[in-house]
Amino acid sequence: MHVHHAARRAAAARVTLLTEGTYPHSHGGVSVWCDQLVTGMPDIEFDVIAVTGTGREPLVWDLPGHVRDVLSVPMWGPTPDGRPPRGRSRRQLATAYERFLTSLVDPGAEDGFAPALHGLAHAAAAAELSPFLRGDTALRILTAVWTRPGLAVREARPTLHDALTATALLEHALRPLAAPPPRDGVAHAVSGGVAVLPGLAARERYGVPLLLTEHGVYLRERYLGYRTAAYRWPVKAVVLGFFRLLAQESYRQAALITPGNRYNRLWEEQGGADPTAIRTVYNGVDPAAFPPAGPEPGTPTLSWAGRVDPIKDLETLIRAFALVRDQRPDARLRLFGGTPRGGEAYRERCEALAAELGHADAVTFEGRVDDIKDAYAAGTVVMLSSISEGFPFTLIEAMSCGRATVSTDVGGVREAVGDTGLVVPPRDPAAMAAAALELLDAPDRRRAMGEAARLRVIEQFTLRQTIDTFRGIYHELAAGTAPTPARVVLPAPAVTGTGSLTG
């Protein structure tokens, strides 16, 4: 991609960010990333359509003046206003809804999803969809559709209660369709899933180009999330069918997909995305905000930074540390980061594991630190043990601080680290311990890796690069030029001052 500076000055693009459960109503990785984009581009006017929980969430980010409007679209909250349609529009909606449901449960009818979704979008714009889905006609259609012979869902013996549950879940999931879609500029969905719905409506109705950024893979997370949900099979089949076909439609309709790592492409291409319309844009950090961390700690220390959460698999890290300590009795493990609400039990489990392995004295939970740089400086080697990641900020921050890292081979980790750290399989304490010992025993290699890591960040993963890339993409899409599939050519790295990115 070539960035047209002249074009940038000529036309101020307008961008509508489409978010779900993140910016500007909550903290966390994706919200930080949104804030970086918005504050980094004062030359672009932003609107935000934010899918929220109840609609009562307060704004937690200071919105700069060039953010014009934030529309909160609650998925739960009070029942939306509106009346069910009558007459012809009722028959049209019933037909569209039957086609929609059939596409969800019949593998041979998936082509019907997109036109049916547009039919639902038109009803939603007239405030008719939600009342329709809360009525009996919608339930009758579902019970008729999923008991058709030959369908897998019929074998699962769906009940009327399942129909009610599935319809209610769909009614809530489809509420973002009722939000007024952007009429011009670029619609930028910062995740897949229901946040994209207004973008799909904008594309269909006004031809607004859709940009889709995926840090994680929304669909994959839905599949994993619903495994533990207490729904019967027919409910899961319908709801997950909706998320799958929504993902496919989003991938097909997006003018450009910008995954946060190359690994996500696998799902996007499988889902029908045109490979030439996928362009990886990595997260970036500010190398000045994360300068070289200075001398290593006196005792050999493994440090870790992040949220104390099962997805970070601290148990494997603690088990690995136990193996390290068998070889290096003076070693320590320091874990930096807060425990989110509801995560206390997991933390206690980790502490119990450390005690059970006989290393309670050497494993410390340091809690939240004011400056996350201290967490990286505290480690001889910085560890990442997650079982799922997009393109982790903690990793590129540690790299920017010039520390060698041992991390698990998930998401975009391998792309971030390159050969400036060691990458091991997830959930494998022995491999992780071996890698940590390898680095602890080789100070020169460690130092070389740390220096290379910082250089790699400066060359490839700076915040400025991320922002300039998206600015270029916005102008490109707004001008209607087809995105070029060629490798992104990035402008020279530049340094600006901002705070920590780990939120």
Partner: protein, 470 residues
Amino acid sequence: MSGPLSLEPGDGHDTLALRLATPRPPRRRPRWALDDETLAIRLPGQGPDEEAVSTLAAELADAIGPAVHPYEVAALLEAEGLSASVIKERYGHPNLFSLATALYERVPRTFPEPPPAPDPWRPDTLRCLLRGVLFALPALVHLLTAPLWPLTRYAPVLIVAGITSWAWGQALGHRAHLRLVTGRREASGTLLTGSLLGAATATALALIPGPDTLALAVAAGQSLYLAAAGVLLVLAREKLLLAALSPLVAGAAVLPWWEPGPLARAGLPLLALLATLAAAGHVLWRGRTGPPAAHAPRTPVRASLPYGLFGLAAAVLVVLTGRQEPYAVIALTLSMGPAEWLLYRYRGWSVAALRTSATPGGFLLRSAGVLTGCLAAYLLLLLPAALLTGTDPATPLLLAATLWTALLLQAFGTAWPPALICLTAAGTAGAVTALDLPPAPVVLPAVCAAAALCLAVCALRLLGRPSPHA
């Protein structure tokens, strides 16, 4: 909360895919994770290793069986840490999705039932019974104070004030429940102004026959009590109300053995009234000190109007019944506790019926059964009471059926039909009785039967459909 919203209300913060609520049981390590040097690395281009794939399918059968799509298996394999190189080298599949599809097709679908969900409509039996008792307890005042004043002279005043308080209380209760959704502080504010206004109105109506200090005093006492008790009942402080009424209970309890004297006969009810007022004041004061809600959507007053009209109609019907069968009214009041319990059961049993029905038609049949069962249970409870007190059971039972079915419709947010049906019934019965028209003796059972029938048809039509039970 950050990231994708859960499609589960009240669960917004829990958005991570792999949140593990309980420690995982020790897991068999999948074969790819074992350090098995005997498994030769496969060369590309050889095609899938069917045996290795089958072994993997067998190992993961429990997890793959319930999957809804091959993608779910792919997500699972990724979460288990299966890397692209292992997929190629050990299983001979070109990519994750190819292996996932092979596994999905190899394992037969299973449809495991989720653990039984707790009944969201499980009634609090003790509380329901207590509420019934609390509705009836104030009647003890008449036992205690009967010798002190000519009750019959003031009965019209008390009845007019009582009917007004009842109607007002129903509307206010509905409004307060709506406001409780916004916040306790907001609900307390509504209850404070609403109950004061209601008590003042009811008292003022007692002045219509002419200024009479004693009439004004008893009307004010009754209205204030009903307002305060209404506050405590709406805010679910039943035990506090019971404690406040304890002087009354104690006084009435000793009557068979001991004459307390006029001072105690007047003083104990007054003490109970003051205690109830103090309790309601305290509860409202505590509620007002809470933090204000960020968003306080106002619902129009007319939304509560049908509830008030229903209260008016119900009060008139009860008063008319009480003229004929005074004991039946006491039994009816006490039965309001079991009636509430049955309202909860109706909802719980309806959900159970949804779980066993496959089609709307099947549900309608079961719903009719649930309605009949609940009504029959309620009336069977009242029948012995009517027979014991030697009253004609027809009128009280038909009135009970009318009131319960109306309350059922109200519980599902259907307010106007029961209000209009009951108003028509009360208006007809009231007019015929007042004008002493020929059908006067049978008008009450007749209108109650008609109303009960209309309401039952309404309930079947409206609640025999699945959508109100969402």
